[in-house]
Symmetry: C2
Subunit: 336 residues, 2 copies
DNA sequence: GTGAAAGCGCTAACAG
DNA sequence: CTGTTAGCGCTTTCAC
């Protein structure tokens, strides 16, 4: 592959001149410029970004660390990140930890070795996991997840609010006995959604029945299992509505109810969370909460680039993006 | 950030020795090794992969170019690619072209500048688009899509077969008048699915009604629109079944039929394609064809790494992975 | 076994 | 304005 030296030789100029015309940061006479451009063309020369990175100590690449790439929830977020990155000529190095701590460490180390200019971490629910990142000195920003009470920079969805919206809507439907299907308490978003549920219940003066509040994970199977458990306690003790922390659990719950002849929303209402693809095409169009993940990605990447450009800026950037309720049918709207 | 020189100084050895202990490619006496390791620890030294890349002319990174990252179809594929990459200490640079030719060129150029060791292209349906890639000399492999009659290396799903499976299954249900909802003919997978449909129809001796064969795109809206068109021609002229090239179009078609009181599968059967997430939770559990995209990703990355390791290997690697039929309810199974 | 030194391709003083 | 040159941090001969 042709190098700058080759170009310089062919154009009969110095490498400095070649560099100047490529970077357009110095005046070069039209004649020389012409010659250089011609040589570049003829040699099919492409600048070597590796060499440039070594020299300038900047790689124009960002490491994006995700807990689970199979989760469609992250799709729009990644697109938002990527769109902004490209606008600034940055590249994304994708790191999927598969919720595996060892994999996380491996990736983190690789990112440090590769000298990424910044790190976007979407997998941190525990401050402990940040130790190594901080030690590296690489600018970073938490996105989507964050440890409780985290004082550093982050951008995320207001998960607390997402549950509040759900509970309020169910309340307006006159439901009073509401069950909560929560996620994994090890994950910050799940903790926040639960807190939102409890706070909303209290604020509305509703009784929280301990045996109707569940933790688990965001999967369909878990929703199925929890609903099944509810059903087995007897039809009479069923809650009037379910506030689910994920759409997937809502899907699973529906399946369990259906198997037992319990109708949604006639016998029991359900609200999901996160507005996943296809939730509209669900057996009963799912009422859920929409999370602006694309915006989160864009904002996150923008904030990170700011930090990189301006590392000394003291002000913390903490941002929570507002979710919105998407009313469809599973909550009982258009039925009652 | 500490460099090798710093480590060498602190350990009172030469940089060559430090390099040797890091790469473990030369004998170093236990004492020196000990000292070096200690210095590395104390200085929190991390090797600079940029410098190494420059010297070794190898970056350990692969550019993955996708047409549309929002399409969940690619999720498992990317995971397959990433899993294999990590096993070999490679990183993925994610490039989402958003079906934009200019973006593709921009990314391609960036990948060449960054001197990726290989390119995995999931967006090529036209040989023309490969010109620049070939000129770059970077090892590459087409994945998922490929130009018709492409003679280079690729791995993809047998899309032809996916339609054949669908038609055969519909045939077994005694459906004879079958409509085809196709994708964008500019995309290779759509072309292949259509060819498979036509071939299967012919092979089974079924008549292909020109006005029941549609091209469009894989979206839900398009499915809705096409079904609507069908309905407006009159109930009597409706086909018995629809072979859809995508699940999304099947979802859209269902919606249109439902609005007109046409039942699936009682009045008309539908088979989707690609087994998207949630197709099981669809209003009528969708019969569809499963594409082993994770396997495709793994195989693709493995093949590419082989090419990188062994650039002179003359043999072409062309692989088509078999899809499988997923029978659920929309085809009429468990009803008739 | 260990170290000195050249050089990967580029940028950025610094001279001229 | 243009060219010379010293590195960026690392690997790898080649001597000792």
């Amino acid at each position: 592959m042709a190098t700058m030296k080759d170009v310089a030789k062919r154009a009969n100029v110095s490498v400095a001149t070649v560099s100047s015309v490529i970077n357009q940061n110095k005046y070069v006479s039209p004649e020389l410029k012409e010659r250089v451009l011609k040589a570049i063309e003829e040699l099919n020369y492409t600048p070597n970004a590796v060499a440039r990175s070594l020299k300038k100590n900047v790689t124009n690449s960002i490491g994006v660390i995700l807990a689970d790439i199979l989760n469609p929830y992250y799709l729009e977020m990644v697109k938002g990140i990527d769109d902004v990155a490209l606008e600034h000529d940055f590249n994304l190095i994708l790191c999927n930890t598969s919720n595996d701590w060892k994999r996380f460490r491996t990736y983190l180390n690789l990112m440090i070795e590769k000298r990424v200019d910044g790190l976007l971490l979407a997998n941190i629910s525990d401050a402990e996991d940040l130790r190594e990142v901080e030690r590296s000195g690489i600018p970073f920003l938490l996105i989507n997840r964050k440890p409780g009470g985290y004082a550093g920079d982050y951008v995320c969805i207001d998960n607390f609010k997402s549950s509040v919206l759900s509970v309020q809507h169910l309340y307006e439907h006159q439901y009073r006995k509401i069950s909560f299907f929560g996620g994994d308490p090890a994950i910050s978003t799940a903790r926040e959604r639960k807190e939102g549920f409890l706070a909303a219940m209290e604020q509305l003066g509703l009784t929280v029945y301990e045996d109707l509040v569940f933790s688990g994970n965001y999967t369909r199977d878990k929703g199925y299992e929890l609903a099944k458990r509810l059903v087995e306690r007897g039809f009479r003790s069923l809650p009037e509505a379910i506030c689910s922390s994920s759409d997937l659990m809502a899907f699973g719950a529906y399946k369990a109810f259906k198997e037992h002849g319990i109708r949604v929303p006639e016998d029991i209402a359900i609200i999901g969370n996160a507005n996943s693809v296809f939730s509209e095409d669900f057996s009963v169009p799912l009422t859920t909460v929409s999370h602006p993940t694309y915006v989160m990605g864009r904002v996150g990447m923008t904030m990170l680039l700011d930090k990189i450009k301006n590392p000394t800026a003291a002000e913390k950037v903490q941002m929570e993006i507002e979710p919105t309720l998407i009313v469809r049918r599973s909550c009982g709207c258009a039925w009652k």
